[in-house]
């Protein structure tokens, strides 16, 4: 019985730890105009990598998206995000904050692309 209680408590602790970790994730998703070439996207990655709060950067030309995952416990003001992109030569359309990690954002984009591909290959019944 004691053994079962121990396992239950440990599982609970693990769940709390995972939940706490998930809540720590803080990403910024930015819709950007002018994202057309890989060289330009390299400049954006390089610019955000110099910011001390940046954990990782994702650029998607297809989704016109720049996503920045911040280090736990840090923040980057919208004005700063905007300034970095303007200094890199781009125009910001909108900034959103999310608790999704870059891996989750990437997964969402992949899923969206797959869904579009599947939809394109579905037979149409008139």
């Amino acid at each position: 019985m004691n053994h079962q209680i121990k396992i239950f408590v440990m599982t609970l602790a693990l769940l709390f730890a995972v939940c706490a970790k998930a809540e720590d994730i803080n990403s910024i998703e930015v819709e950007v105009n002018g994202l057309v070439c890989a060289f330009c996207a390299q400049g954006i990655t390089s610019a955000f990598s110099k910011e001390p709060q940046t954990h990782d950067v994702l650029v998607s030309l297809e989704h016109r998206l720049v996503a920045i995952e911040l280090k736990p416990g840090t923040d980057m003001a919208n004005d700063r995000v905007n300034q970095v992109l303007v200094d890199a030569g781009y125009d910001v359309v909108g900034i959103e904050r999310t608790q999704r990690s870059l891996a989750m954002i990437r997964q969402g984009m992949d899923g969206e692309s797959d869904a579009m591909m599947n939809h394109a290959h579905e037979p149409h019944h008139e």
């Binding site: 105009n33 002018g34 057309v36 070439c37 890989a38 060289f39 330009c40 996207a41 390299q42 400049g43 954006i44 990655t45 390089s46 610019a47 650029v59 998607s60 030309l61 297809e62 016109r64 200094d87 890199a88 030569g89 781009y90 125009d91 359309v93």
Partner: protein, 222 residues
């Protein structure tokens, strides 16, 4: 003059790059300014010329470069060998949801050797481009001049991507080019079809000119 002796004139790291491409001749319309802290190394070889440039962009608006240009068959049988420093500026950029357009200008000065005579030289250039993920167009014009000589090149390009690429993946483009150089052995306009491969770190173009000469260019982005 054969290609090996042309390569012997090229200098520095660009020489090594050109050597790697010695079986082809090379051409480029890479952007003269990239992004803050961006460094590029470009090596180009045309059938009658070789060029290289190493540039540093202080911001997306300006860059400074050193470079060299060697032309064989200049004003008939002469050779033209230029080494220069230059500054480039992005005059205007338009960002749209799925496209971007730019106008760049640049100018510089250096040392030129025409046949065996040394001169100072100056040059100025202009580039306008428009790009989406499927279409690329550009117009590039560059003029070099010394006390008793001048050399000019104009290039128009239309690129089409067979599929939409994304960041971190190597993109493929088919690029059609029209080129003209003045005061060379052959001032006639030429056309070329090129295959362009590029990703965030490098770019390679290879192709063939209408007279059968092979072309290509290589660029590294640091």
């Amino acid at each position: 003059m054969n290609r090996l002796s042309l390569l012997g004139r090229a200098s520095g790291a660009a020489c090594a790059l050109a050597l790697a491409l010695s079986s082809i001749a090379v051409t480029a319309d890479a952007r003269p300014v990239t992004y803050t802290g961006g460094r590029v190394l470009v090596a180009e070889a045309y059938p009658d010329s070789l060029a290289w440039r190493y540039g540093y962009s202080g911001s997306f608006r300006w860059s400074a470069s050193v470079g060299g240009l060697y032309v064989d068959g200049f004003e008939g049988q002469k050779t033209l060998d230029i080494h220069y420093v230059r500054g480039a500026r992005l005059l205007k950029r338009w960002n749209w949801p799925t496209a971007q357009a730019n106008v760049f200008v640049w100018g510089g000065a250096g040392h030129a050797r025409v046949a065996s005579q040394s001169d100072v030289s100056a040059h100025a250039g202009f580039q306008a481009d428009f790009e989406t993920r499927r279409i690329y167009t550009s117009l590039v014009s560059e003029h070099h001049e010394g006390p008793n000589w001048r050399y000019r090149t104009d290039t128009v390009a239309l690129g089409l991507a067979p599929y939409e690429h994304d960041f971190e993946k190597t993109a493929l483009w088919v690029v059609l080019k029209g080129m003209r150089s003045t005061h060379t052995r052959d001032d006639e306009p030429k056309s070329a079809v090129m295959l362009r491969f590029f990703n965030p770190k490098w770019w390679l173009e290879v192709g063939v000119q209408d007279n059968g000469d092979l072309l290509g260019n290589v660029m590294f982005n640091f």
